[in-house]
């Protein structure tokens, strides 16, 4: 029995900040103090805090320490663990209504977060199936397999009105129903973990923070539609996610939660990991299927859609990581519970990644319907350096552009559609007013040009020509008429490109043109960027300070 637990978030972000070396030092220090049997150090998933260096939490006191370095470890052990005194200088607190409040004690109405998908991240050890089980893990699967028919499981998902969290917001229940109705000997469930949308890392942190929730969600999907095999397609660059998932699958097999005849129900289901090899386009579901089939990841003609003809020609459901991680909670607590979260048209929570020019970047989970103002200024603590808000790009590089006039729109799939934007993958890129819009648009287009798979002419050539035009304008060689050419090219791509990549690539370009057309005109008439001089001077200053 341990009298205290120290949780340290170990994910790809925190490791890059030195979490591993701090953990090693902590284990050493506890062992020197003879406390190894009394205090357990647990690696956990994301705590969602990223601008404060290495963060750890001491339980049962629920004291958060931030900015912890190897040098601080001895103090934490000798002061907090041995003497029971909080190490003030590292103590993570927030100021609420003028009072210093411990981070763990911030009431939800201030933190604004509701954790469904991330309920276990930062709380359990993601490498321990026992801890997942202790937090209601696999209870939904047990309930479904012993007390529900596949139709009832499908009905719950349909009634929950959950929409696909990969970005398209297609009703997941409907997708499942299509596959369930197909008559086939073999069907497949694929978890799309080919996260590559710039600014998005929610799936990475769900995989690294609570991998068993995904396994359970996939097994439930398999039961509902009659599939016995699943694949998790993970980006090849996400080495840590792959490792955690592999371990979780092995544990689930050992516990009989994957494999033959689960819970003696006659239902069998197993999962295999497939690694990507570096191609953004493989996040498109049919390109992903091609990639699992060992081919170039080029999208297929649709219809037929994967629920009828998918992997190896069989009915296949492709669901995003976040969608699947919601499923066990929906089955456990019921569709009505889920529908009560978020808005009527768009129920549930949404996991966002808040990035760019923001004081408090990170991973958050909030109910649908929250405003951008709340996210940027309450949760994100505003924009650094006293700069102003220029724009936010919603849902990754293919996402729409929002400006100050949109700060109070309730965020949901349907409300954003009205302003030519969407929630997309859940990335929110905040851009301050010291950034050059043309430079930013060029950066978007460089990405599309790099990631276009080359299958269709409009996208392959279109992204290249757009980049040339933007480079011209940015370098001061732009001509009047170039803006109209960009618009024509962009609208043609939107209506004619083969898949979502080429169709969506013009969205942020047209968005920036809509709200910042003057910037483009000024670049052309002034022969380049008026911000260049001040911007580089500022960059030099920043360096001098760093």
């Amino acid at each position: 029995m341990h009298r205290a637990h120290i949780l340290i978030a170990m994910d790809a972000h925190t490791i890059s900040q030195g979490a591993r070396t701090v953990k090693d030092a902590l284990v050493r220090s506890l062992s020197l103090a003879g406390l190894t049997n009394e205090v357990r150090v647990v690696e956990t998933g994301s705590l969602g805090i990223y601008n404060k260096g290495v963060v750890l939490v001491v339980y049962p006191d629920a004291v958060y320490y931030a900015g912890v370095t190897v040098e601080d470890v001895a103090d934490i052990v000798s002061e907090h663990i041995i003497k029971g005194r909080v190490v003030e200088r590292l103590w993570l607190t927030e100021f609420i209504e003028g009072k210093r409040v411990a981070y763990a004690a911030v009431p939800p109405r201030f933190s604004k977060q509701v954790r469904v998908v991330l309920r276990n991240a930062g709380i359990i050890d993601p490498e321990s199936i026992e801890e997942y089980i202790a937090h209601d893990g696999y209870e939904a699967l047990g309930k479904a397999l012993t007390a529900m028919s596949p139709e009832q499981v499908l009905q719950q998902v349909k009634e929950s009105k959950i929409q696909g969290r990969g970005g398209a917001f297609f009703p997941s229940g409907l997708k499942w129903e299509f596959a369930a109705k197909e008559k086939a000997e073999q069907k497949y469930i694929i978890c799309n973990a080919d996260e590559g949308e710039p600014g998005t890392f929610k799936d990475r942190l769900i995989l690294e923070g609570d991998p068993h929730a995904i396994i359970e969600g996939m097994a439930l999907a398999g039961y509902a539609v009659g599939a016995s095999e699943g694949f998790v397609y993970i980006r090849g660059e996400y080495l840590m996610s792959i490792g955690r998932m592999r371990r979780a699958i092995d544990q689930a097999r050992q516990h009989g939660l994957l494999g033959e005849n689960i819970f003696d129900s006659g239902f069998s289901f197993d999962i295999e990991i497939r690694e990507g090899a570096g191609a953004y386009i493989c996040g498109e579901e049919t390109a992903l299927i091609e990639s699992i089939e060992g081919k170039r990841g080029e999208p297929r003609d649709k219809p037929p859609f994967p629920p009828s003809v998918g992997l190896w020609g069989k009915p296949t459901i492709v669901n995003n990581v976040e969608t699947l991680a919601n499923i066990p909670q929906i089955i456990l607590r019921g569709a009505a519970w889920y529908r009560a979260l978020g808005t009527d048209a768009c129920p549930g929570t949404k996991v966002f990644t808040l990035v760019g020019n923001i004081n408090n970047p990170g991973l958050i989970e909030v109910p649908m319907g929250i405003t951008l103002r709340e996210i940027i200024y309450d949760i994100g603590h505003g924009i650094p350096g006293g700069k102003g808000f220029l724009l936010a790009q919603m849902g990754g590089t293919t996402g729409g552009i929002l400006t100050a006039e949109h700060l109070d729109i309730p965020l949901a799939a349907d409300t954003l559609r009205k302003v030519d934007a969407g929630l997309g993958s859940g990335a929110i890129l905040v851009v301050d007013d010291s950034q050059c819009v043309i430079d930013l648009v060029k950066c978007f287009v460089e990405f599309f040009n790099h990631e276009s798979c080359g299958k269709c002419t409009l996208c392959r050539e279109g992204t290249g020509r757009l980049l040339e035009l933007l480079e011209k304008i940015s370098d001061g060689r732009g001509k009047m008429g170039d803006i109209e050419l960009i618009e024509r090219l962009a609208t043609t791509m939107m209506s004619g490109a083969f898949c979502g990549l080429g169709q969506a690539a013009p969205i942020p370009i047209l968005g920036c043109l809509k709200y910042f057309r003057n910037e483009f005109v000024n670049h052309i008439s002034n022969g380049g960027c008026a911000m260049v001089d001040t911007k580089y001077a500022m960059a030099e200053n920043d360096l001098a300070i760093a």
């Binding site: 030195g18 070396t21 600014g199 660059e237 090899a277 990035v355 760019g356 590089t397 930013l440 360096l543």
Partner: protein, 158 residues
């Protein structure tokens, strides 16, 4: 030849996996450093997949390379979240320090500099990945210190 035997061994390891070509190419690249025509021909012969198809796959994905590369692969991100946090200055410093452009290898063969799409580490932007290690919150100076360390010790540091 010895190469073919190695390829055969890798292919055999995946006999129970359906359509394992990407896994095979990954392992083959790990073994030989890059996917040369000879090696790909060996894969084609062993798997009975047409060479043209294999070449198509090998050139489609950015983690595969058909040309030899440096001992360390430096992948820099310049997507929007890194961009607004100063990745261009970082990349310029790295280019200056290594004396190469993106896509090139240093003459000594130590580093290959590449451009990568988002690595999903945007909360600690700007970021780069060297081999399997990720580095965040970069400044031009920090990036240079990390590269220097690789150069001196020939190993990574966290």
């Amino acid at each position: 030849m010895a190469e073919l035997a190695k390829v055969e061994k890798i292919v055999a390891a995946y006999k129970d996996i359906k359509t394992p070509l990407i896994y095979i190419l990954k392992d083959v690249q790990k073994e030989f450093g890059h996917l040369s025509e000879d090696v790909l021909t060996g894969v084609a012969r062993t798997t009975n997949i047409p060479l043209a198809e294999i070449y198509g796959v090998a050139t489609f994905y950015s983690l595969f390379t058909t040309k030899p590369k440096g001992r360390h692969i430096v992948r820099c991100c310049n997507n929007a979240p890194c961009h607004v946090n100063g990745s261009k200055q970082v990349l310029n410093k790295i280019k200056e320090y290594l004396g190469v452009e993106t896509g090139e290898t240093t003459p000594c063969g130590t580093f290959t500099l590449e451009f990568t799409s988002c690595l999903g580490l945007c909360a600690v932007a700007p970021v780069m990945m060297i081999d399997d290690e990720v580095y965040g919150n970069l400044t031009p100076e920090k990036a240079m210190a990390i590269l220097k360390d690789y150069k001196m010790k020939g190993r990574s540091h966290a």
